[in-house]
């Protein structure tokens, strides 16, 4: 049993390595993300400015050597705010995706393996969540809970789990019919152990892909919610909020809105590259 588990992990790891080796765009995406993570972690050392420091003498400076992305309507250094904003976007990309995929994995495995009435109701719940235009459901959740960063994690997890649950369930359904499951049952392994030790590890590759592909969606959703005013609140340097702040000054100071958007675009693109590469390497059937 130990060996089997080990093998599953080894091949998954090998698949991931292969994805980046064979797929240059995926590798490019990975490099961009690594740079971004480093910038976000070491933000205070990367830039001499404070993201919240107001300098009214320096409002709307054009991008220059001193202010790479220029300054905003309060004279705050925009590059600094974008770098600090990367912390938010990365956290928003990773944490709700992890929560959503974990919930989806548990519910998917349980509903696929045990099936029956429980499985049926889990899937109907997923149907209900997926019936909503995702942004509107997130808006409703944020409206109810209040616009804070923490609630964004909840809203995006609520929106994200259903898709993962569906994919995992269909996999669990086919794994359930495999011989090794029958063998495990025959020697008296308990259902919960079969799910944890056999069904779940076999779903891991797809979960990895689902997780990676959820990240860009989560980042875009956070940016959209913050742009609409139901996400992060000022003066948090959330990327969506930065663009939103800049839209009033589009004609006089276009960089204030445009440059933070470039950051969103590149980050989402990088995660999409990684997601596509992983999917092609691990599980081509998830395509489309």
């Amino acid at each position: 049993m130990e060996k089997e588990k080990l093998l599953a992990h080894e091949t998954l790891f090998a698949d991931i390595i292969r994805a980046f080796k064979e797929n240059k765009t995926a590798l490019f995406g990975l490099i961009v993300v690594v740079i971004l993570v480093v910038l976000a972690i070491f933000a205070p050392y990367v830039t001499p400015y404070d993201p919240y420091e107001i300098d009214l003498n320096n409002r709307f400076s054009k991008p220059s050597l001193n202010h790479w992305f220029g300054t905003d309507m309060f004279g705050r250094d925009l590059f600094t705010r974008v770098i600090y904003g990367a912390r938010i976007s990365l956290a928003i990309g990773l944490i709700p995706s992890l929560i959503a995929v974990s919930i989806g994995a548990i519910l998917g495995v349980v509903s696929g393996y045990i099936g029956g009435r429980l499985g049926y109701w889990v899937m109907r719940m997923a149907d209900v969540v997926m019936a909503f235009p995702s942004l509107l459901l997130a808006i409703v959740v944020m409206y109810t809970l209040g616009a804070t960063l923490f609630n964004l994690f909840i809203a995006l997890s609520v929106v994200g789990w259903a898709g993962a649950a569906r994919v995992v369930r269909s996999q669990a359904l086919s794994i359930r019919e495999k011989e090794f499951i029958e063998a495990a049952k025959a020697i008296g392994v308990k259902d919960i152990k079969i799910m944890a030790r056999h069904v779940f590890p076999n779903c891991l590759p797809s979960l990895m892909v689902l997780f990676t592909m959820n990240i860009p969606d989560a980042i875009l959703s956070e940016a959209s919610l913050s742009f609409l005013g139901v996400g992060a609140q000022p003066p948090t340097p959330s990327w969506g909020l930065l663009v939103s702040n800049g839209k009033e000054f589009l004609f006089s100071a276009p960089w204030v809105a445009i440059l933070p958007g470039v950051a969103i675009f590149i980050t989402v693109l990088a995660f999409n590259f990684i997601g596509d590469g992983l999917r092609d390497a691990i599980d081509p059937y998830l395509k489309g």
Binding site: M125, V128, A131, F132, G229, L250, G261
Partner: protein
């Protein structure tokens, strides 16, 4: 028929979820409605008038009963029927969503076909890069970019508003681009998939030219999943419309929802979210029916 029956409980659950989420919201809607300080007495009277003190289950059934009659309640802020407000805004959203869908098909399908025919060529990389860019760009940002370039700098198109067809061009392209990316990617992978089939090899071996093989044999099957995605597009277009409408100042359903959030107008938000969700459920239903009509190999279970 079976699908239609499944849609009904889903619809019920959707109404329940929206109702629960929006009616447990802390803060007294009456206090929010009144601009000035009013006595507790007045608040209590208005609450009673609006039946806000009834148990939530009764309020839910009253809400459901209203919904069945097309009555979504009264907007707190505008003091007008929510149904009227939404129906008034809906045609504009329709125009936007339909033109965006049109853009996405006209661009996405040919791009996907060309990419599949010339797999791993420069053309393929160009179109796939273009598609991925469309999927990766935040709609609000590309909207601002378009406004900056085509309205403010070049002056070709109006910045915002909704007074004629010229006002629809930019929002439709912005909203359509992200969908075009999805459609191009789907068309490409679906066509590549079909091209591996035996009947394609047969067509080739009997001497049919490549163009004839693709248009005469492959495309019909390859476009099946694309047709269904068109109906499912409703969801992404409506999500996108929320943002596009607010950037381009189009007074559609998405704009109604955003205004409702800003003024914490619960019935209006509830109504517009429900309305959009019902459209999505209808879209999925149409997709299922279309699929089984177009592809006799697929019959819906039972």
């Amino acid at each position: 028929m079976n699908r239609l029956l499944i849609s009904i409980p889903i619809l019920l659950c959707v109404t329940f979820l929206v109702f629960i989420l929006l009616n447990v919201v802390p803060g007294d809607p009456v206090a929010l409605m009144m601009k000035e300080k009013v006595s507790a007495d007045v608040v209590a009277r208005v609450r009673a008038q609006m039946h806000l003190d009834d148990p939530w289950i009764i309020r839910y059934f009253r809400f459901l009963w209203g919904l069945l009659h097309g009555d979504l309640g009264t907007s707190y802020k505008l003091q007008r029927s929510v149904t009227d407000l939404i129906l008034q805004a809906f045609p504009r959203t329709m125009v936007l969503a339909f033109s965006a869908a049109l853009v996405s098909w006209i661009v996405g399908i040919p791009a996907g076909i060309l990419s599949a025919i010339r797999q791993y060529s420069v053309t393929d990389y160009f179109f796939m890069g273009f598609s991925l860019a469309g999927v990766s760009m935040p709609v609000f940002w590309s909207a601002l970019l378009f406004q900056y370039v085509f309205a403010l700098k070049l002056g070709w198109l109006p910045v915002a508003g909704f007074y004629g067809w010229r006002y629809v061009i930019m929002p439709a392209i912005v909203l359509g681009w992200s969908s075009a990316g999805l459609i191009a990617r789907l068309t490409r992978s679906s066509l590549l998939d079909v091209m591996r089939n035996d009947y394609i090899r047969t067509a080739r071996s009997k001497g049919a030219r490549e163009l004839a093989v693709i248009t005469g044999h492959a495309l019909k099957n390859a476009l099946l999943p694309v047709v269904t995605i068109m109906a499912i597009q409703v969801a992404s277009l409506l999500s996108g419309a929320v943002i596009t409408e607010s950037v381009f100042g189009i007074p559609g359903v998405g704009r109604v929802a955003v205004d409702a959030i800003k003024s914490r107008d619960m019935p209006l938000l509830q109504g517009s979210v429900l309305f959009a969700t019902i459209l999505v459920i209808l879209g999925n239903l149409v997709a299922d029916i279309l699929y089984s009509l177009l592809d006799p190999r697929i019959r819906l279970e039972k």
